[in-house]
Symmetry: D3
Subunit: 141 residues, 6 copies
């Protein structure tokens, strides 16, 4: 098994807030991350595809194609945007790092699997909210 | 001359917007950085003090004291905040990286100079908006 | 499965030395790492919790709580300390990176599992001794 | 299970080119990576050994020995070299990151397993072509 | 004075070789950097503009414009290229890091000065050949 | 003026302690950095030479020679050592980052100036004690 990873980044604002709960619950649970005036991050995303290299190219996936898929599904909708208000596929999702990397994985899944080498698939999405906090969604592990 | 630097970081939302200009001018000038729903960054700040080490301590400045000054003037007011709306000393300042590092310098100047070794002074403030974009204010250079 | 990681760091002195062996054996086996006058490192620790996000919070674990657990069990006892002489739970442990990350895992296990979301658990501890040398303890893998 | 990793780096030139295919196919498939005048990278390699620490040393593997094995098999033959023309064991291999990390693993396997602690083995080789693109070969996973 | 910096990167092959000297002199002087089969690097460039922010924008220079100038003069001609053979403005230049950053500065000078805020100018170009070796050209210092 | 920099690293133990002062003064002044059982760091040193490239080589200084000078004066005496007890030229020096970078500069000065290109000289030494704390000695500035 070979794992190939492509890294990208975007800047966005967000807040952690569960609209089904009271303001008190939200403030107590999320603290400064609940700030109604938003805060933001330089997000770094790492997208990993696992499989066997194509014998003609030596590629598990053409990283140029993977870069375009990340741009289409992640960078274009999220960069310099408000993750709570402006990203259609995040509607109703609390934008914790955990939830974001799962939704990002699902957004890219079919496009990645279609262009990856035969028997290669999207394997995981890792998202750094800061250099010190990150999450990874890896459904096969 | 010896230069001593302390690094810190905070996360904030902002937008580039000049309220004295039309919305069209702002959109054309600042592009996606003008998004009315905000975007955000993991800011990294480097604060440099220049001078001669105190012979008793070997310190140009006690970095523990410098850390506290950065916390008081930068981290506490700005972390997880909206730089346009929530930081009193940024009122009326377009929060470009250039402007921020100048204002941050002025905020910390007297506190730093007071605790630095004799003939040591605040020298510069560098601010990274992203890993790829940064500004430095260095009035003596 | 989602993996959430929090990074922290501390500075410490240590030496590699097995007191059950001769000085010759120690010097031959550990070389410069056996220096009786100690050497030291800026250690970086990454603590990973694996599980399912809580539907109310989107959290596998509240990273503020995880930060406090790392502070209590790792940073407070080890930072600016001598790992061979001053950390009670390292008594009798040769402080190789391998051994340290296993002991750190065991120290934090019950506290982490108690505050993590239901069906989330401490998964691994990675410790960087330098940027070029690191070890990871991951008992489930 | 404990995983121990050693990082190293080398600089080399290469091009992606499949000599069994036409020039057109190569240009279309590999784009600018097919440049007949070569391009190059600062490669970073991470070599991971998995096992149980030796009770006398606390080592899964002596990292000094691992460093020497990486030097012998990777750095000495590849550093400041042309990967397509000058590395005997890469003859006939399209030097994609995927292929390189698999061949590097196979080159080092027997030497690493011989000096690792009992029941410890070479586990994976990760190769960064750039900070944004990397591949990992991990046959056991 | 405020300094604003934009970072970019490109990958290229090169060799150090002075065609006016003998092969023996070249090999003795440049060692492995003289390899006739080339080697390569992931170059990182930092371009710094110094001046006063425009009061309407808060910008010393619009970093979007600076990014385009770097792309036009550095990334497009050099990325995935052979610096000795394929970059017209490097003809006759020994591509040491020192020489490269000076030539890059001169290439960009007039375009940068034209779009920078009034009384702002191109100040320096720093070029990393590897993470451990870099040069900076700063004619005003 | 062109500035060329070479980076290196070493690991050492130390404590901040002024033997001319009381234990109370030392503890109050240096806090946890005064620990009599030592602590330690992964130090990173950046050595900068300034001048004009030699027209035959394109070099301000041959970085291979600079690497050897750093090894002789800094890495060999300091790596895996106790900076207070084991480095002859640090005898009587309080090993603050400020003091260390000044002494390191003076140690290397004549050797660097001897091998640098004509009219090139040692310019500065920057020393990182941690990623967040660093000092730079630059006598000409």
């Amino acid at each position: 098994m070979i794992y190939v990873t492509r890294k990208a980044h975007f800047n966005a604002s967000h807040r952690l807030h569960n609209p089904d709960k009271s303001d008190d619950w939200n403030l107590k649970t999320f603290g400064k991350c609940n700030n109604p005036n938003w805060h933001g991050h330089n997000y770094v995303i790492e997208v990993t595809v696992a499989g066997t290299p194509d014998p003609d190219t030596g590629y598990v996936i053409d990283l140029g194609l993977l870069k375009r898929i990340i741009k289409k599904h992640i960078i274009d909708p999220c960069d310099h945007k408000n993750l709570n208000l402006e990203v259609p596929y995040l509607k109703g999702v609390i934008p914790s790092t955990e939830n974001l990397c799962k939704v990002f994985f699902e957004q890219m899944k079919s496009d990645v699997d279609e262009v990856a080498s035969s028997n290669s698939k999207l394997y995981s999405v890792r998202l750094y909210e800061t250099e010190r906090n990150f999450a990874e969604y890896c459904p096969k592990s």
